[in-house]
Amino acid sequence: MAKSHSTVLAHHFDSIEQQREASSLGMWIFLVTEIMFFGGLFTGYVVYRTIYPGVFAEGSHHLDITLGGINTVVLITSSLTMALAVRSAQMSNRKSLVIFLILTILLGLTFLGIKLVEYGHKFRDHLVPGFGFSYPGPEAGHVELFFVFYFFMTGLHALHMVAGVGVLTILLILAGRGLFSAEYYTPVELAGLYWHFVDIIWIFLFPLLYLIGLHLKGS
């Protein structure tokens, strides 16, 4: 079989374009499976929020809007640095690719750190279902339900962040070796898609969990 001019072309593809298009389509379909994966949780959350609007609002008042807001800013900023990293790869700028990857990883870790602090507060306040949850009042069961969804949704999101940081670290090593250039940057591009997707999930988690019902606080 005729060997291609490029070493990154797999044997079963005819051209590097075909390979790139296939990878990109594959990534998008993977993201659709992720939409449905989180979608099951969103559906459950929407259903319970519809049945128990007041209690869920009460539950959400125990979340820390400041930390949640800061985290939103951190994550959106990391999306910007990720987009700039892909741009650097497109322009074959190895140095700025490395810098932006490092920035993205650091911002991702910051997000996870702040999330950990928030989780710590919930442990302190006995608001973690399954781990000594206690809440005064007759609605404790439904408040617990809110926190089950809070921890499940943010936890799953955080796991995706951890995976993302792992992928970016590998890319960082490869980028340091100069593997990526304008001719071949598909892995950076795909990792970027994934990172932005995780950002979008948070863009919805933030209002759903922290913001809706906030105006009822104290009333």
Binding site: H11, H12, Q18, E21, T33, M36, F37, G40, T43, V47
Partner: protein, 549 residues
């Protein structure tokens, strides 16, 4: 039938030897064989449970097992058969083998992901078997809450983990198929020149990709509720058990189409080849697959009519359920119309195709009974339902799977199977199947509930008939198992195009070389363009000679 006497040149089977060359292969054809062996294994595991169930139901009393064991038997029968046999059977075995061959590609788009899918499948399967050996699980394959999440004391979480992992294998396969079909078709192979099997696998993959993640997260929620003792679905803890059923059936109803859509694709190939005609209404059949994939997602709550669903919700879902019948009926009518004035030959694959059309029609029409609210209330959780879905899943999917396996066996193994034995097998399976499951329609209509280990005396005659049928069916399934293995060594060598058929897979040697085609084929003809037999046999031979010269 033309039989090549020439020793085959290097092909995917003899390209490399040794365990490692199989376990680390990225060749879609070898991965298909890995799947073939593993799903057959799971089929027999699930079959053992079926045998035990039918043995227990031979008499009205519980003499072989008691309620607790019986609950485990039907649960593990359902879990192994559905998640580890029916869902992967046609896509992962025949689909894996044929998608690249049928579209003129050298492999699937992501070969390593394909291998990973098999490992996820095996890992999930081993964990499920471990759960079985450790003591089993008794929730029913549907894992209804709150029983599964709060009360059952069996190995629910472990089984769920097994299913969760095998879900990844499903998703990987579906994703791979979609990308491959979009991006890797041979030059000239437009969408409307694709074999209908490809269309049906495409529609199946869409369902897999959109549905499987939902059941994955749902089962994960059950596991979390169970392990942490928090309320998600348990009403005692503030949850709503119906939410579980909504999320579960959002996947598990379309999952029926994951099983039967590829089967329909196989039948389209068989009917065309063995009546030597283009499929009547090719585009209708192709779009019917897509329509089933879409409509299949709009009907799930018809599994919940008596569960406490809102009356209006039930009416919406009952109404929508009827729509799925339309594309399914289009297919049945078009296959029948294809036979009209066709040059029909009654070879084994075609016998399975006939079996499929008949049994699928019975299964489908009884499905309409169940879709209508009034009748469903009467027959919910009776043997009527059991008979209905076995007509679809066993009478539909397994008939098509075996038909397809026989049809493509020359391509897969390079050998012909023994036609006489194969026809006998197809006949025994058809008779055994009907004897097993038709009495169950009657039983259910008379009011025998499913999932009970004992029953009133008046039901015994029909139950004995069913158990007798099951033993015939068992023999029927053993036959192909034996003669197909035998034929791998002793069967006559197959030519490149023994039937002779029109697809691209028949224009490469049997068995195909590792890279499938020496040169990427260029397609200039329409699908199912049948010409006289002699001409087609020559085409097959010419292609091989081209490659050797």
């Amino acid at each position: 039938m033309i039989v090549d006497r020439v020793e085959p040149r290097e092909n995917y089977l003899n390209a490399d030897y040794g365990i490692k060359s199989w376990l680390l292969t990225t060749d879609h054809k070898r991965i298909a064989l890995l799947y073939l062996v593993s799903v057959t294994l799971f089929f027999f595991v699930g079959g053992v449970f079926a045998v035990l169930i039918r043995l227990e139901l031979l008499t009205p009393q519980g003499d072989l097992v008691q309620a607790e064991t019986y609950n485990k038997l039907f649960t593990m029968h359902g879990v192994t058969m559905i998640f580890f046999f029916l869902i992967p059977a046609i896509p992962a075995v025949l689909g894996n083998f044929l998608v690249p061959l049928m579209i003129g590609a050298r492999d699937l788009a992501f070969p390593r992901l394909n291998l990973a899918s098999w490992y996820f499948f095996i890992l999930g399967g081993l964990i499920a078997i471990w759960a079985i050996l450790a003591g089993g699980v008794d929730t029913g394959w549907t894992f209804y809450t709150p029983y599964s999440s709060s009360y059952s004391t069996t190995y629910v979480a472990v089984t769920i983990l097994g299913i969760f992992l095998s879900g990844f294998s499903s998703i990987f396969t579906g994703l791979n198929f979609i990308v491959t079909i979009h991006r890797m078709r041979a030059p000239g192979l437009t969408w409307f020149r694709l074999p209908l099997f490809i269309w049906s696998l495409y529609a199946t993959s869409v369902i897999i990709v959109l549905g499987t993640p939902v059941v994955a997260i749902t089962l994960l929620l059950v596991a979390v509720e169970r392990i942490l003792r928090v309320g998600i679905f348990d009403p005692a803890l503030g949850g709503d058990p119906l939410l579980f059923q909504h999320l579960f059936w959002f996947y598990s109803h379309p999952a029926v189409y994951i099983m039967v859509l590829p089967a329909m694709g196989v039948i389209s190939e068989l009917v065309a080849t063995f009546s030597r005609k283009n499929i009547f209404g090719y585009r209708f059949v192709a779009f019917a697959s897509v329509a089933i994939a879409v409509l299949g997602f709009l009907v799930w709550a018809h599994h919940m009519f008596v569960a406490g669903l809102s009356v209006y919700g039930a009416m919406i879902f009952s109404f929508l359920s009827y729509f799925v019948a339309v594309p399914s009926a289009i297919k049945v009518f078009n296959w029948t119309a294809t036979l009209y004035k066709g040059s029909i030959s009654y070879q084994t694959p075609m016998l399975y195709a006939f079996g499929f059309i008949g049994l699928f029609t019975i299964g489908g029409v009884t499905g309409l009974f169940l879709a209508s609210l009034g009748i469903d209330v009467h027959v919910t959780d009776t043997y009527f339902v059991v008979a209905h879905f076995h007509y679809i899943m066993v009478g539909g999917t397994i008939m098509a799977y075996l038909g397809g396996l026989h049809y493509w066996w020359p391509k897969i193994s390079g050998r012909m199977y023994p036609e006489g034995w194969a026809k006998l097998g197809a006949l025994v399976i058809f008779i055994g199947f009907n004897l097993t499951f038709f009495p169950q329609f009657v039983l259910g209509y008379l009011g025998m509930p499913r999932r009970y280990y004992a029953y009133p005396d008046e039901f015994q005659v029909l139950n004995v008939m069913s158990s007798a049928g099951a033993s015939i069916l068992g023999v029927g399934y053993l036959l192909p198992m034996i003669y197909l293995i035998w034929s791998m060594r002793y069967g006559p060598r197959a030519s490149s195009n023994p039937w002779p058929a029109t697809g691209l897979e028949w224009r490469t040697p049997s068995p195909p070389p590792t890279e499938n085609f020496k040169e990427t084929p260029v397609v200039t003809w329409e699908p199912y363009e049948f010409r006289p037999r002699e001409e087609m046999e020559v085409i097959g031979k010419l292609n091989i000679n081209d490659e050797s010269g």
